[in-house]
């Protein structure tokens, strides 16, 4: 074994222990923590949402206390994250009555962020993330086909119509985010719901960033067609079809994302 990490014996010790735990049932307990600071994680999550226009231009962010509660961090961490966003021109803060932090959508779309985020990941990592998201999406769609109520289906249909009619990328991403969340809700599973939210934050962001190029193309039309089929399968309670198409949808998007990543590398 030829891993050389200099003479730092403490680091070596850590590596040895990690190997010991991997592959055991306790692996997740001892899995490495996100290397980023918490403020950076918060600012990254918000920056992604702003660049993707999930948070729309001029929208008011919740107050510091609410944000702290939502992310499960201290208010000073939120302040640090907001200061970072402010310095990057992604939010504006007004003091006093009617004050707060307001979203400023940057000009020119999420192109540069896209490159940066995608470059941080290897192709293998991207594929792995896409695989997990595909399984969760497929599973949620299959259960939704078995368990959705008339109300669930009506909401899904209304959101699909929004998705199909949306004129710009921001509106489309908001509708798509909602479509995916509603699928998990219709599955009647709190855990799938949480998994969807977590995966949307991590993988969904990258998929959307990479889907920019697909706008108005056959790939985009095929994606909408997939949504229509998922909806139909849920209405007709054909769960295997719902699973299959929902998985296919994420896998296609993952392939586009990886192609996008590879093209970016050449530039």
């Amino acid at each position: 074994m030829a891993i050389v990490l200099g003479n730092d014996s403490a680091t070596k010790g850590v590596l040895t222990r990690m190997r010991h735990y991997y592959g055991h049932g306790t692996a997740a307990v001892f899995a490495p923590l996100e290397p980023m600071g918490r403020a950076e994680q918060v600012s990254r999550r918000l920056a992604d949402a702003i660049e993707l226009e999930l948070l729309t231009d001029g929208a008011q962010l919740p107050g510091e206390i609410e944000l702290a509660a939502a992310f499960g961090v201290a208010t000073v961490t939120i302040r640090e994250a907001l200061a970072d966003l402010r310095s990057r021109g992604l939010i504006r803060t007004r003091r006093g009555r009617g004050g707060g932090s307001f979203v400023c959508t940057p000009e020119g779309g999420p192109g540069s962020l896209s490159r940066q985020r995608l470059r941080e990941r290897s192709v293998v990592e991207l594929r792995d993330m896409g695989d997990l998201y595909a399984i969760v999406s497929g599973g949620a769609a299959a259960l939704a086909a078995e368990r959705s109520s008339g109300d669930d289906v009506r909401l899904l249909r209304a959101t699909y119509e929004e998705l199909a009619a949306s004129q710009d990328a921001g509106a489309r991403r908001r509708a798509d985010a909602r479509f995916r969340v509603l699928l998990a809700v219709a599955a009647q599973s709190p855990r799938l719901y949480r998994a969807e939210i977590d995966l949307q934050a991590e993988v969904g962001t990258l998929l959307w960033l990479a889907s920019e190029k697909a706008d108005g193309t056959d790939a985009h039309r095929a994606d909408l067609e997939h949504c229509a089929v998922i909806l139909e399968a849920i209405e007709e309670r054909v769960s295997e079809r719902a699973r299959c198409v929902a998985e296919r949808r994420v896998r296609d998007a993952t392939a586009r994302m990886i192609e996008h990543r590879l093209t970016e590398e050449e530039l």
């Binding site: 368990r147 009647q188 599973s189």
Partner: protein, 228 residues
């Protein structure tokens, strides 16, 4: 199954629904008292801000089944807040006011007037039991919502509602259900609230043809179902 065999099940359902609708009754009385003769005077959301005191004790009672309760205003009722929830949630030993985005221009806004727990009482003026459903507004868990309309001077002003987690219902119902032959307790659209079968668990829909004899419950939109 004989009514006698079912009576322990009915007792538990009575206790849960009694607690839930008891609390929505408290909310209704509070709102009706605070909005009486106010509707022509452009009421503001502050009219119901004292609701906490009215429900806090019930929410904090040890062993309380209800985890959240409150008043959900009809759109446009309050001049300063076109959408408004005065909603209290138990968080551990504390009772906190739920803060949710309160306008279509805010991220995460959710038009509650289209939800069954709001829409149905508005439509027919009756009490409703909605769910179990994954409540992504508040508990983020499988939840049953009990709701009733609130009217002031003959006008619908919103709903009084409360949430009970599905696991709370299960904890009480399972011990009595386990002594029976296969039985499903279903809500509205044949959605299982609780059963003693592994095939049908909370949140599942009964398959077409799975239901045999049905026992309706008076005054409650729940049905006890025997398999076909």
């Amino acid at each position: 199954m004989t009514p006698q065999a079912l009576s322990p099940v009915l007792d538990v359902i009575d206790a849960v629904a009694g607690e839930a609708f008891g609390l929505t009754g408290v909310v209704e009385a509070f709102v009706a008292a605070h909005l009486a003769h106010q509707l022509d005077r452009e009421p503001t959301a502050s009219a119901v801000s004292g609701l906490r005191e009215a429900v806090e004790t019930s929410l904090r009672t040890p062993g309380a089944r209800v985890v959240g309760a409150g008043f959900v205003a009809a759109a446009g009722l309050f001049v300063d807040r076109p959408w408004w929830l005065e909603w209290l949630v138990r968080e551990g030993a504390l009772v906190e006011r739920l803060e949710v985005p309160m306008g279509p221009e805010q991220p995460g806004f959710y038009d509650y007037t289209t939800t069954p727990w709001f829409r149905e009482p508005e439509r027919d003026g009756q009490r409703h039991v909605t769910g179990p459903f994954v409540d992504y507004l508040c508990t983020e868990d499988l939840t049953v919502t009990f709701s009733q309309p609130v009217t002031v001077d003959g006008r619908f002003v919103g709903v009084a509602a409360c949430d009970v987690r599905a696991v709370t219902v299960e904890r009480e119902l399972l011990p009595v259900l386990r002594r029976l032959e296969q039985t499903y307790i279903v809500a509205n659209d044949d959605r299982v609230l609780c059963s003693n079968s592994g095939r049908y668990v909370c949140g599942d829909l009964l398959a077409p043809g799975a239901a045999g004899r049905r026992h309706g419950l008076e005054g409650l939109p729940l049905t006890i179902v025997e398999p076909a």
